[in-house]
């Protein structure tokens, strides 16, 4: 159990480093929008999500309604429901009691989901707690630093740090792309659709665009390249 906690924490380090740079930017942005450092910290601690928090700041700054706030969060963050559903299939059921599920679900972010779904072993609560604790530390720590001392780092450094999380995503999906034609197809389809949403169907919000791209690309891949259980295990290794 302790071993799982440490393993999770270790796997959480690159996530935390990436978060540090992104949430640093969030902290700067929040203070510029008239939110106090303490409130910005509370938002990061309770939400643990980048796009949703940035949009939330906009709603607060423009004195929007609570319904608007709820709808904005629902749209941008609905992708987490898909990730939670996917992770629910990987859990070590004997260890994941109701209470532990209630706790661990707090920490399902894009990056934690990505690293957890790349594991070959069933997920234990300790493993997820370790990863979430380190990631939250990075996310909240970066927010505090950004909110309190946003102008310390030169812009050349903060700009370059903007790519860190994307670099991590690439490191996750490229190795299986190299090995499996089916994953190559999935990634190419999702990326192609995402480009369409960025430049052609620009009326669709970021959160919905991600959901539509992922559902279409994965459904097409599932039809063209059905996965049997043996292949699933092999692919995960």
């Amino acid at each position: 159990m302790k071993k799982d906690l440490l393993k999770g924490a270790e796997h959480g380090i690159p996530i935390a480093l990436g978060y540090l740079s992104v949430s640093f930017g969030f902290g700067i942005m929040a203070v510029r929008a008239g939110i106090t450092p303490a409130q910005a910290t509370a938002i990061s601690l309770t939400n643990l999500t980048s796009a949703g928090q940035a949009a939330g700041i906009d709603v607060i700054a423009s004195a929007g309604t609570l319904i608007e706030m709820a709808l904005v969060q629902l749209t941008i963050n609905l992708r987490y429901a898909l990730m939670s559903l996917s992770l629910s299939q990987k859990l070590d059921k004997s260890k994941f009691t109701l209470l532990k599920r209630l706790i661990a679900s707090y920490g399902i972010t894009d990056e934690i989901f990505a690293v957890c779904s790349a594991q070959t072993q069933p997920l234990t609560p300790s493993y997820m707690y370790g990863m979430i604790a380190i990631a939250v530390l990075g996310w909240v720590g970066g927010t505090v630093l950004g909110a309190v001392a946003g102008t310390v780092l030169p812009e050349s450094v903060t700009n370059a740090m903007g790519i860190v999380l994307y670099g991590m995503f690439i490191a996750i999906f490229i190795p299986p792309v190299r090995k499996h034609k089916s994953v190559l197809f999935t990634v190419a389809a999702a990326a192609g659709l995402s480009i369409l949403f960025r430049y052609v169907f620009t009326g669709v919000s970021f959160g919905f665009a991600i959901i539509i791209c992922a559902v279409i690309a994965s459904a097409a891949a599932a039809l063209l390249f059905p996965v049997d259980e043996a292949a699933e295990k092999e692919a995960a290794e």
């Binding site: 609905l78 490191a171 665009a209």
Partner: protein, 99 residues
């Protein structure tokens, strides 16, 4: 309206989205199509989030492209996540210092 109320609504909605499927979906999915679908979902989500957003992540398409190229090469050779991520940032930084 008090900022605390906004924060509570944000946090509540975001938590429920994550918690409901994770906590209450207990069955093992038997359908071959659905299992395949969920197997491909992580790759599709990550690809859609990365492309084309990565090219706008550093404030300059040129430095972002350099970082992306470095990340793709290192990931192709299976380097650890943190190495790929930091090398991408380093490449963007170095390229930026020449612009």
């Amino acid at each position: 309206m008090s900022t605390a109320v906004y924060i509570a609504v944000m946090a509540g909605v975001t938590y429920l989205i994550r918690m409901l499927p994770f906590t209450f979906f207990r069955r093992e999915i038997k359908s071959g199509f659905l299992r395949s679908f969920l197997y491909y979902i992580p790759y599709a989500v990550l690809a859609a989030m990365t492309i084309p957003a990565i090219f706008y992540s550093t404030g300059s398409i040129i430095t972002a492209a350099a970082g992306t190229a470095v990340a793709l090469i290192l990931a192709w050779f299976d380097l650890p996540l943190i190495a790929v991520a930091l090398a991408a940032a380093a490449a963007a930084f170095v390229t930026g210092s020449f612009l």
